[in-house]
Amino acid sequence: MKRWALISGLHGDLELYEQIQNDLKHQRSIDSLFVLGDLIGPDRNCDALLDRIRNPKRSDIKPDCVYGWWEEQLLAECGYRGDRRAQALRMSDGEEAVNQLMNAVDSSHVPWLASLKFGFIELDCALIHASSADIGDKLTPETSPLILLDRLTRLDVNRLFTAKGGQQFRVKLTGGTIQSHIKDHEGMQKANHAVPKRSVIGIGQQTAYTLYDPATDLVEFMEAGGKAPTSKRQGLGFA
């Protein structure tokens, strides 16, 4: 089985994308490139990057993209989300940021951005920008494990790859239990629930990206143009 590369937060930076594509050529057995949203952003014109992603060079690993928080803002402002507009962006960065974002993307790209999926389920892994709770959900190593477990449970997967939190990390839920006592008209029922062995992986953003080997469950945190900060070999999947 081949390995996956997972990136996010390009924000229109074609040079960075080319650097990552170049890095991946020197990696063994990478056959999938997943772009977990935020292809666009307000700080630069994004058209060249979008052209390249939509029309890959022959030597590129063909990217599979999902939409992220910035695409959600653009699509909402363009009327693709019913009555909603880019309120989250407006509230955080003001009207000028909304105008900058609208100017950063040619309207010809908007239908393609609107066609992007919310996420992919590959094997027992979910690959999404944030979480199924919200496109702005920031999962980090500091997030309560109860919330991490909830986000995994919502998608019914063993591994959740997420980008919105911005950090590279892997939290493995390795054990634990809870007792549930239910009283209803049929009486009292007691049950002991065990924590399923699952992981949340933060893939990083921009120059920080992640490689994953589904066959060995090995996660490698990478830096564009650099070497892997860690390369820890894990066991074969979950017990």
Partner: protein
């Protein structure tokens, strides 16, 4: 101090009156309502007006929301397209009859009510449409209460009353980050939390025809699920007379969900 929590009144005046009488007879003065005043039943205006007259703090239910905003939400729980069509008929029937004054009252209801460590919602803290069923993952259930910063979460929506206590919980985890070969292991102790589902006054589905609600004694930390008999036949007759789907009367007279399941496969969620 004991307080009563009622939910899912569903325009069933006889049931609401019987439950309020039962609460009064026990000398309980504090009542909280978890919404769904309208829908299914034949007396939407009468029930809304009774709740207003009694000045009962109420949060908005999914049916209340739909009467205000129109049918833009999908009841994914409809077990079949026939059931969905019946639900839509009931919605349009109620929407045509509800007075502007009562509609404004429903529109002004809050999504949640909070009193100290107690949070009151219709479905879940996330949505009026989310079901906190007794069988859902204990960790997911705890997350709903904990994320809402409550000790006890009072909800309805399922029409099945229950009290669920989540205790003695822990999660072990291992954290790996770039730049270090060491992983950090941690064990988190989870807090004790409780979910109390008030069942349904006006459309019980717990297996018998009695209206249900709960009484919570804050001092003794005790919850009692109350069942109250009422004149089911009177409401059933009114359902038929008003031209509402007859199966609503059948359901009231049996106390559980009636559902065709033959044409489930094509149901597509319409939630926007």
């Amino acid at each position: 101090m004991a307080h009563a929590v009622i939910s899912c009144l569903h325009a069933n005046l006889a049931a609401v009156e019987a439950v309020l009488d039962d609460i009064d007879q026990q000398g309980i003065e504090t009542i909280t309502c978890l919404g769904d005043l309208v829908g299914y039943g034949p007396q939407p205006n009468e029930v809304v007006e009774l709740v207003r007259q009694r000045n009962i703090p109420t949060c908005q239910g999914c049916w209340d929301e739909d009467i205000i905003d129109g049918l833009n939400a999908c009841e994914c729980s409809y077990p079949s397209q026939l059931a969905e069509r019946r639900g839509h008929r009931a919605h349009h029937w109620a929407a045509e009859r509800i007075t502007k004054d009562n509609k404004d009252f429903l529109a002004g209801l809050p999504m949640t009510l909070r009193r100290g460590p107690f949070l009151f919602v219709h479905g879940s803290p996330n949505s009026q449409h989310e079901y906190l069923l007794p069988g859902m993952s204990a960790f997911a259930a705890l997350e709903r209460v904990e994320s809402a910063e409550a000790d006890t979460l009072f909800c309805g929506h399922t029409h099945q009353p229950y009290v669920r206590e989540l205790r003695d919980g822990s999660i072990r985890m291992k954290l790996e980050k770039p730049g270090t070969d060491q992983s950090v292991e941690q064990e988190i102790t989870l807090p004790i939390r409780r979910i109390v589902n008030a069942g349904s006054v006006g459309e019980p589905r717990h297996g018998n025809t009695h209206a249900t609600y709960v009484i919570h004694d804050e001092i003794k930390e005790k919850v009692i699920i109350r069942e109250v008999q009422y004149d089911v036949a009177k409401t059933c007759q009114a359902i038929i007379e008003q031209g509402l789907p007859e199966v609503f009367a059948w359901r009231l007279s049996h106390g559980f969900e009636y559902a065709e399941r033959a044409d489930d496969a094509d149901h597509v969620c319409e939630r926007s």
